[in-house]
């Protein structure tokens, strides 16, 4: 199973990023392989509108089934829902810390978008 984590950096020790659509990177961690890949989201993060939609599309296309992030807006939520990605809104220091929290099994899935759209 693959887990996507929002981050400002490019490795497991990099800081966790609370924003989703405008996060600089997504780290996609593969639990079976204990390996990860990094998606660069910086160009998309500049988009005036719809950054969340494209971010969600990227995460879904890489086959992530779980997303660990701070905030998720309504449109990104719709895309993630349609793709069956489980979203957890968390606070974490680093990517590794976020993954630990997930592995502990103590997290509760988000019930919906937890921030408003940027223009609505």
């Amino acid at each position: 199973m693959k887990i996507a984590v929002t981050t400002s950096g490019t490795d497991l020790e990099a800081p966790f990023e609370a924003r989703f659509g405008r996060a600089p990177h997504f780290l996609i961690y593969d639990l079976e392989q204990s390996a990860f890949e990094v998606i660069d989201n910086q160009a998309n993060a500049q988009a005036a509108r719809g950054a969340g939609i494209q971010a969600a599309q990227s995460v879904c296309q890489r086959g992530a089934q779980v997303l660990l992030t701070g905030h998720c807006g309504p449109k990104a939520w719709d895309v993630l829902q349609a793709a069956g990605v489980e979203v957890f809104n968390i606070q974490a220091s680093t990517v590794a810390n976020a993954l630990e929290q997930y592995n502990n099994g103590s997290l509760k899935p988000a019930g919906g978008a937890n921030v408003r759209g940027h223009w609505s």
Binding site: A47, R49, G50, A51, I53, Q54, A56, Q57, C60, Q61, K75, D78, V79, A82, A83, W119, S120
Partner: protein, 290 residues
């Protein structure tokens, strides 16, 4: 002649000036159309009280994806500048609120899986107040993209001698759409530091669009002439000034036209109309000759 009445921000008195100018022109027997392009908050009809003769729906093309034919190749999402499409492994999602109906996705889809269907985004109330033609654009509640409705209102202009466009405030797309092909723009601004700041931005827009313009100062006595001096220093022509007057606010809040309710203002608007038309004609001639 197409005359846009615009302002850097809402509440400067733009609609008050636009409606009174149009009414003044119509009273003088000039064949006039009033087009309310402030489609997110149209309120000129409250003052002009037209009889609505026609309600015209405004549609935009909306892409519809045939999920059975789609191979989820992702090309439509790649081409969409507005991030309105998300391609997932088994479906494509369209976000109407972001779609600008550019047709790019329809064109690029290798499977011809996308066609367009009309989507209602607003309507136009068309009618008359006496001899004055009045058309009001109304963006549907919850819609985010106003320019198609503005465009549709502008198309209501007929063979009138004078067309007055009540522009949305500010400098965003709907204001650009209103002002872009006006023959002349009259900016209504309040004489305050904030009013000046917003006016400067709005004037930038008119200059970028190469529209000739002038300024009318509302509540002109608020800053002891500072905004007027600022206009003069920058070479912006001030065609008229109206001082702070409680009676105007009162008449506006009860939906009355100033020129009807306060006869002492008739002259101000008659002169403003003459001056605007003259200024517009001069600049039009200059442009024809230049």
């Amino acid at each position: 002649m197409k005359l846009a009445i615009a302002s850097g921000k809402g509440g400067a008195g733009k609609t008050m000036v636009a409606t009174n100018l149009a009414w003044t022109a119509a009273q003088q027997g000039v064949k006039t159309a009033f087009l309310d392009c402030d489609v997110e908050e149209p309120n000129a009809a409250l003052f002009l009280k037209p009889d609505i003769e026609n309600v015209i729906p405004v549609h935009v093309p909306k892409p519809v994806i045939n999920q059975d034919v789609c191979t989820h190749c992702g090309l439509c999402s790649d081409i969409c500048r507005y991030n309105a499409l998300a391609v997932l492994s088994d479906k494509v999602l369209l976000f109407n609120e972001l779609c600008h109906s550019c047709g790019g996705c329809v064109h690029v889809c290798p499977e011809h899986a996308i066609h367009e269907e009309p989507r209602l985004v607003g309507h136009i109330d068309a009618g008359h107040a006496g001899a004055l033609k009045v058309c009001t654009g109304v963006l549907k509640v919850g819609e985010a993209i106003a320019p198609p409705v503005v465009k549709a209102v502008k198309q209501q202009a007929g063979d009138e001698t004078l067309t007055i466009l009540d522009s949305p405030p500010g400098t965003a797309c709907p204001a650009v759409e209103t002002v872009r092909d006006a023959d002349f723009v009259l900016f209504v601004a309040e004489a305050t530091p904030f009013g000046r700041h917003d006016l400067a931005l709005a004037i930038d827009l008119a200059q970028a669009l190469k529209r000739p313009f002038a300024v009318m100062l509302n509540r002109a006595d608020l800053d002891h002439g500072e905004t007027r001096r600022w206009c003069e220093e920058n070479g912006f022509r001030v065609l008229a000034e109206i001082d702070e007057d409680r009676r105007i606010a009162e008449k506006c809040s009860s939906g009355e036209l100033v020129v009807d309710a306060l006869p002492d203002y008739r002259e101000v608007f008659t002169k403003l109309l003459e001056d605007v038309v003259a200024a517009a004609e001069i600049t039009t001639n200059e442009r024809v000759q230049g």
